[in-house]
């Protein structure tokens, strides 16, 4: 402990509550029903949404669209080359991303269908699951899936004993706590919550509130990306 925060500044110069640079685009993949691209820190992630499409497969429901989600990292996305086969980490993250998004969507209009969300991490940095959720929600909106609200996610953490927002890779690895959270803000809901590392119950509550503030900022970026796509389309006419 000791050198990740100096004079209230983090190793990349950010203040405790600052987000890393975040760039979001909607409509990035030709064949997809909806798609997006996010750069958040060094994360570079594409998301494509396909469906809802009719399916007679085992596992569909008479009551709603069933969501499938794959979070996948390209072999060159990490410092050491990653095997292209899905790791246990990728399988778990695919599941929690699906769980983080489902409650934002209104799926009962689409019984007996499948809705596929494909996340491809071309380059990974701290907070890749959070960035994936933020981007996937934009891709779902781009696909016109009815939703209650956008979902945005960010990792809060504890570094040198201090709570900070939007962990970098270095902070994630050398810090004490990593706490990724996703919000459905207009319902005051948490749709993803994981935690690694030790903190008191009081610290935890403070961290959640910090994450919520950050999520509000991210939501603006989501709206911008969707607005820009709509605006440009009008422009093209």
């Amino acid at each position: 402990m000791g050198n990740l925060i100096v004079d209230g500044k983090r190793t990349d110069g950010r203040g405790l509550l600052d987000l890393r640079p975040l760039k979001l685009e909607a409509g990035t993949i030709k064949n997809a029903a909806g798609s997006s691209y996010i750069e958040h820190g060094k994360n570079k992630i594409y998301v494509a949404v396909y469906g809802p499409k009719d399916s007679h497969r085992y596992g569909t429901s008479m009551e709603k669209a069933v969501i499938r989600c794959r979070y996948h990292m390209s072999p060159f996305s990490t410092d050491e080359r990653k095997s292209p086969a899905p790791s246990r980490r990728e399988i778990e993250i695919s599941k929690v991303i699906r769980d983080a998004l489902e409650s934002s969507l209104i799926l009962d209009e689409f019984p007996k269908t499948l809705l596929d969300i494909y996340v491809e991490v071309l380059q990974s940095d701290g907070g890749s699951r959070s960035a994936s959720i933020t981007a996937a929600s934009v891709a779902l909106a781009d696909a016109g899936i009815p939703m209650k609200d956008l979902v945005e996610a960010v990792a809060v953490g504890k570094v040198d004993g201090t709570l900070v927002v939007d962990l970098s890779d270095k902070e994630d690895k050398e810090g004490e706590v990593d706490l990724p959270i996703a919000f459905l803000l207009n319902e005051n809901m948490i749709t993803l919550l994981q935690m690694d590392g030790k903190m008191t119950v009081e610290e935890f509550k403070e961290a959640v509130n910090m994450a919520k503030e950050a999520a509000m900022k991210i939501k603006e970026k989501q709206k911008e990306a969707l607005g820009k796509k709509y605006f440009e389309k009008v422009d093209e006419k």
């Binding site: 399988i91 778990e92 599941k95 319902e187 993803l192 919550l193 959640v208």
Partner: protein, 276 residues
Amino acid sequence: MMPKKGPIISNLRKDQILKSLSEGRHIDGRDLTSQRPLEITPGIIEKAEGSASVKLGGTHVIAGVKVEVDTPFPDTPSEGILIVNAEVLPTASEYQEPGPPDEDSIELARVVDRGIRESKMVDFSKLVIEPAKQVYTVFVDISVLSMDGNLFDASSYAAVAALMTSSFNVYRMEGDVPVKTEDKMAMPLADLAVSLTFAKIGGSLVIDPTWEEEGIMDARLTAVYDSDGRLCAMQKGGSGGLKIDDVFQVVDAGKAKYLDIRKKIVEAVENAKSGN
């Protein structure tokens, strides 16, 4: 990729469960803050270096510990290795197909792993034979024999109790080769992780959900506490969300409860040890 099919709860049954919860009772009669009967039996697999059977209501889980030697990871040359695997066996329910671990089994293993790892329960620095050359690898394998909800807590208790009763043969380096000796060492432990799982069902927040309750819940939240009552791992599950206030209520309720469970684990372990 895709959520697994589970039991279909009829609307009638669903209404019964919700009504009972709204009256402050689980459908099995417990009050909302009581766990089902918990039976922890360490030492049932003599061939394993440590083991425990855990029954939590109708859920039945076995954890076994095996210790091997291997080269350490390059970035942690002076630490032993922990590998947690879980398999929800096809014995557990009619919805469980045999095959490689599905996403539920993988999530289960990873959450149990994080609870143990992040609580710093196992002292990895004492699992070294020679730094950068040979360390102990601790395998914790979890076999879910019977499924009746709340696998996370049952599996966590089984893994923790199995580790607490583990001992294994010491290895000594002869040149570059690790050689097994007859000396035994106990698993080096520094803390104790206690997992507690809550579910949000209808308007109620309840502890230790049954499988039926999980079938109709909005969401689930698992919180793991160290011996000082600090949070050391969490995992939200289920396709619904949780109000922020619900989350805060869970972590408070867990903190009020974890010492009870901790005591049950410690007692079961001590009974097993004195029984030897």
